[in-house]
């Protein structure tokens, strides 16, 4: 009886115990899933349901000073194919349909798919917007399009060396595109949303979006007409004088605005091939990053310093014997001529080396170097272009300095400068003594209509306005000497300027090649443009006066007519 009761008890309690144990296991599992690992599974659920995507901001345009478009972005598509969707027997039809639309070979398309290790293969990049819409409308199985954008240049290769370029990720790689990348690029947005099984946002599901902020437009100081004139003039001069390259800069000396900037060799979108290592050099602009010895162009700076210090005047005279012996070295004139008694104006007119040495000796090394520093040599001009070089000036503080260096620096040797430094220093010489920061961007225009102008920045006053007026007159006398013809005289305008011809330095000396340059301004009494023409290694070995100054004369004449500047010196056909 007792045994029977015990068996009955066991029969009734055993299921209870088993069920209780099972319930406990379930409970434990529930606690594990819903309490202990809650965060992990909640996150997994969210990741299944939540989608997000980057909403790209439209890159700003680059305009010239008159609002003409130099670079802008247009919407394009990247075309992707999902490989497994084309693995069946209909894959050939799909590839043929897509290849026809994209105008590519179906065989090439299929080969690209087979060779790619990815499941989703990008088969075309930057497909035109209209074409992309047609591909979308065709609804080809396995084909998806993602929006992209491409840079377009309505003026072709014009100013490519200034504008630079962007990479596949729409980030600036060179030129203004990289210098102003953060301004142009804007701020990409990001959208978070609940998605359906196809990955598309669920309408009226949870949706949080940071709206993208479009990039701002850059309004340059460059004038497209002047840029075209400058590029054509430089190209013509390089061909005529069989030069290896060159540079041409046009600036408003009153504001530091660069009106045109051409260099050769330079970046060209039409022939760009970044797989060619030689073309990678074109990503830097030689006008800001390459150094050269300026030669006699430097005599103007020496004269300005000596006159400003009061150690000479334009009429101070000395005797030129054709050479000077100093520190065991003979310094000769560039043309081996003897000019006899000469004024300081005559020194600039005939570009006499001994006259320049006379001025720097009167000034003294410490003051000369102080003036070079005040004119901005040996330091970047802080132009808004990447990769600017600072230049090199040998000073007593540097190892290897010789007292001879300061004498040769007075006529542009033993000193390395960038073309832009020469421009900035000359602008200060002729504009009343204000050293300005050269700049390429005039304003930044936001999509909401905000317009921030970039004002001229005066960074120093190396000389007085009186010295500036005096040196301007001396440079005018160079271009318009009165008793002989000078090829750098613009036909319809008064002008001033100075040429330079310097051998190219090599270790322990100079080679036989040269750099011929001329820097000039017009009109003479109230300069509106300052132009530097520089020809590298011109094979005809003509001097700066012979090769570069005529380019200045012609270009200054054209540019001032275009700018509507009233001619100083024209033939009037009628007067009443």
């Amino acid at each position: 009886m007792a045994l029977q009761r015990a068996t009955s008890m066991l029969r009734s309690w055993l299921p209870v115990a088993l069920l209780s144990a099972f319930a406990l296991v379930l409970l434990g599992r529930l606690v594990q899933l819903q309490v202990l690992r809650h965060d992990e599974f909640a996150e997994a659920a969210r990741s299944e349901l939540d989608g997000s995507m980057v909403v790209y901001a439209r890159r700003g345009s680059i305009l010239d000073r008159n609002g003409n478009v130099l670079a802008m972005s247009v919407d394009t598509w990247d075309v992707y194919v999902r490989k497994d969707a084309w693995s069946g027997p209909t894959g050939t039809d799909h590839s043929a349909a897509l290849a026809t639309l994209l105008r590519i070979s179906p065989v090439d398309l299929r080969t690209a798919l087979e060779q790619s290790p990815s499941l989703n293969v990008r088969v075309a990049t930057d497909v035109a917007f209209d074409l992309g819409k047609r591909v979308q409308a065709a609804e080809i199985t396995g084909v998806t399009l993602t929006p992209n954008s491409a840079r377009t240049y309505p003026e072709g290769d014009l100013a490519a060396g200034i504008l630079g370029l962007i990479g596949a990720d729409n980030v600036g790689l060179a030129g203004l595109e990289v210098a102003y990348n953060t301004v142009l690029q804007g701020t990409p947005g990001r959208a978070f949303f609940e998605r359906d099984t196809t990955g598309e946002p669920i309408p009226f599901g949870r949706f949080v979006a940071d709206e993208p902020e479009p990039g701002k437009d850059l309004v340059l100081t460059i004038d497209r007409r002047l840029q075209r004139m400058a590029e054509a003039a430089l190209k013509g001069a390089i061909q005529k004088h069989r030069a290896a390259g060159g540079a041409l800069i046009m600036m408003d000396p009153r504001t530091g605005e660069i009106l045109a900037l051409a260099s050769s060799p330079t970046l060209a979108y039409s022939t760009l091939d970044l797989s060619n290592p030689e073309q990678l050099n074109l990503l830097r602009n030689p006008v800001v990053s390459d150094l050269y010895e300026p030669g006699s162009v430097m005599k103007t700076i020496t004269a300005a310093a000596a006159i400003d210090k009061g150690v000479v005047t334009p009429g101070t005279s000395y005797y030129d014997s054709g050479s000077i012996d100093v520190y065991g070295v003979t310094i000769k004139n560039w043309d081996d001529q003897v000019y006899g008694y000469q004024t300081m104006t005559g020194v600039l007119q005939h570009s006499i080396n001994t006259g320049s040495v006379f001025m720097v000796r009167a000034l003294g090394q410490p003051d000369f170097h102080r003036y070079l520093d005040a004119f901005g040599f040996g330091q970047p001009t802080r132009i808004d272009m990447p990769g600017e070089a600072a230049g090199i000036i040998r000073t007593p503080a540097q190892p290897g300095y010789s007292p001879l260096d300061v004498l040769t620096q007075s006529f542009g040797q033993s000193i390395s400068v960038t073309p832009l430094q020469v421009m900035a220093a000359y602008a200060a010489v002729i504009n009343g003594g204000n050293l300005l920061t050269p700049h390429l961007v005039r304003a930044i225009a936001g999509p909401g209509g905000d317009y921030v102008e970039i004002k001229p920045e005066v960074v120093g006053h190396p000389i007085t306005p009186r010295t500036s007026a005096t040196v301007r007159e001396m440079l005018h006398a160079v271009v318009e000497p009165g008793d002989y013809y000078y090829p750098g005289k613009p036909r319809d305008y008064t002008a001033g300027g100075k040429s330079g011809t310097a051998n190219v330095p090599i270790p322990n000396g100079y080679d036989e090649t040269q750099i011929a340059s001329f820097i000039g301004f017009a009109p003479a009494d109230d300069p509106e443009i300052l132009i530097l023409v520089k020809l590298d290694r011109n094979a005809d070995l003509l001097t700066g006066t012979q090769a570069a100054s005529p380019v200045f004369a012609s270009l200054a004449n054209q540019a001032l007519h275009y700018l509507g500047v009233e001619p100083d010196d024209v033939r009037f056909v009628g007067s009443r």
Partner: protein
Amino acid sequence: MVSIPHPLRGVARPFERPAGPVRTGRWVAAGVAIIGVGAMLPVLQKSTLTSRGFLLQQHQAEQARLTSEIHLLEADVARLTSQERLERRAHQIGLIPAEDPLYIDVSVPGPEPAKIPAEFLPPREPTVEDPAPWWRSLLSLLPLPR
């Protein structure tokens, strides 16, 4: 003792019809209808929201397409007004670059600017006169000297 309600003498009272079940049925029907409508309303709302959501997505896609096309048209305008294209067109119609400009110094004033024909002028805005106050009309009734 139980008080039995007694009908008024001499007044014939009709038999009361069993109205209870009918009245209850109406209320139930009305309740069911209200509940039904109430139940259907969120469904209809949800349906409308969903269809509007899709419509909104379509409009957003359309807006994006139109924005892209505007950018393309801007690029077209820039290309068509590029210097190279303008020069090519100028050559096509026989224009050549100006050379050797001549300057004339004229001391007499130039002619008056040509008058624009009235048809091209902007329409003149009608002048709205202030209405006379109401009491001024009363003055005419008075025998005042004119």
